[in-house]
Every structure is written in structure tokens, then in C-alpha cells.
Subunit: 158 residues, 2 copies
């Protein structure tokens, strides 16, 4: 048996979901699924233009739904399958969610050929040559929120 | 007058919001505000642990609210002020939202001293040495969603 058979089953599901969704309304051509112990926890799909939410990528959608369902922000033990390589926003969301493994079908290079900017954002984060300019401004009491957080006895680290 | 006076005003607002929120419940010590033509469009703050949503960082929250309010996924012309340097998830969300300028108070290096992993994620994206493993699996029909999207006459690019 193809050792990737199991992964291909989940990837076929997300590709098929992406196909169904992109045909409807203004969904983007992306879908994802989160799996724990072989069971599907949540599906996600891209609704950036449909919902007017630039953060509503498939992986973000799937992570939010899985966290809601499992009642935790910590998705340790889950894996994510995505119809394409996650953009840096989604890669970082996966990181914050403590998901350690991403399986994907289409590369960011292919996605870029269809006009999406995933590869550009990866390149900016790699080279540090940002088109979105970040400027640090010295401001009084800027560290106060962290000092207060640090002293909280009931703080929940993540 | 200090040329950064205007920026400091907005940054003081977000620092003050972060202080108020981190004292309450399980909010994280982060806040942000989105401004267009000098007017505040939306505030955001971190509720990862409170809402069980690993994606609910201050900037993501502010972007979602601004998009909802302005009824567009395209926040061109807006700027974002954040109490700390956005993590790569939030930087990329800002990028996708077409916001071109980020002003922040506390650096990612300082945030890291309080146990947050922002700097680690930046370093992984810079070096390409990922602890979250990404694996590409060849899957039949993987490009279909993009081919369908490409042919749609009513597609909305972003």
C-alpha cells in the first residue's frame, strides 16, 4: 500500500471541498481539514471575499472551528491537511495552535501562478525586505501590559 | 512638536486598552487599533485563552472588525497601531488586508522575554528551518480548484 494513502484520502476530501466551494458564490479556491487520532475535527474553507474578512483563509477557519469544538486553544496532537501550502499567516496560526504537522497538495509556487501573493509574503519574511513597513515608536509605559501579565497568578500561558 | 506625536497618541490608546484588558479575565497583554484618515475604525485585543481561539490576536481582531465595518476585505489607506510588533501571523494578515504601515511600541525581542514565541516564528520563516513540518503529497486533481477559480468570470481577486 502507498504509505501516503491515508494522507491522500484526507487531501482528496479537502480538494473536493475546495472544488465545491469555489463554484459557489465568492469563495476562494482553498480548503483544509484538521484531524486528530485519525478522526476529522473540523473543515475550513476560504471566504475572504464572500465574508469581507482578509483573515478568513481555509486553515484559519479550520483552526477556529477545531478550537471551538475541542474547547481549547491548544491543538496539540492534531494535524492539518490543506489543499495548498499554507501562507505565512496560516503557517503561523498552525504554529500558535501547536499543530506540528502540515500535509498539503499544491505548492505556494503553483498558487502564485494563479495570482495569490503567498510566495511574496514568504519572501519578505525570509529576506526581511518588507513592503509593509513596520516602525517602532518609543512610547511611555509600553511594557506595562506585559509587566501586569507577568504578575498575574492566574495567567494562562500559550 | 515631536513628529511622532500623532502616532504616540494612538499608541497610548492601545497600550492603555491592553492594560485594561489584561487585568480582566484571561485576555493577553496586546491591543491594536486601525486608523483611516486620522479616524479610528476599530480596536482589537488579544483573547486567545479567553475565547479558545489561537488566531485571536489583537491585530487579527482589529482587521476583522475594520473589514466588517467598512464592508470590504481591502483596507487600503488604513494604518495599524499595535502595542507590540505584530507576530508573523498578524504581519501577514496586515499584508493580505493591504494595510501598508504598522506602528508599534514594544519590539518582538521584548515580547519574547515574557515567554511569547513571536521571535521564534520570525526566525523559522527567515531561516526556513521549521519545527512545524510541512510535507507536500502529490494528489490527483489538486490544481482543479485553481483552474475552476481561474475560469470564473465573476471571481474577485485579492
Amino acid at each position: 500500500m502507498d504509505k501516503n494513502q491515508k494522507h491522500k484520502l484526507f487531501l482528496r476530501k479537502v480538494i473536493s471541498l475546495a472544488v465545491r466551494k469555489v463554484r459557489l458564490n465568492n469563495n476562494g479556491p482553498f480548503a483544509a481539514v484538521i484531524v486528530k487520532n485519525g478522526k476529522i475535527i473540523s473543515y475550513g474553507y476560504n471566504r475572504v471575499t464572500k465574508k469581507n474578512d482578509p483573515t478568513l483563509h481555509a486553515e484559519i477557519d479550520a483552526i477556529r472551528k477545531a478550537s471551538l469544538k475541542l474547547k481549547t486553544f491548544d491543538l496539540t496532537g492534531c494535524v492539518i491537511y490543506s489543499s495548498c501550502q499554507p501562507c505565512p499567516m496560516c503557517f503561523s496560526a498552525v504554529y500558535w495552535a501547536n499543530i506540528k504537522k502540515i500535509y498539503y497538495a499544491v505548492t505556494k509556487e503553483t498558487v502564485s501562478k494563479y495570482g495569490f501573493r503567498d510566495l511574496k509574503i514568504y519572501n519578505e519574511l525570509k529576506t526581511g525586505r518588507f513592503t509593509v513597513k513596520m516602525e517602532q515608536i518609543d512610547t511611555d509605559n509600553a511594557v506595562d501590559p506585559f509587566k501586569i501579565w507577568n504578575k498575574k497568578k492566574d495567567k494562562i500561558k500559550y
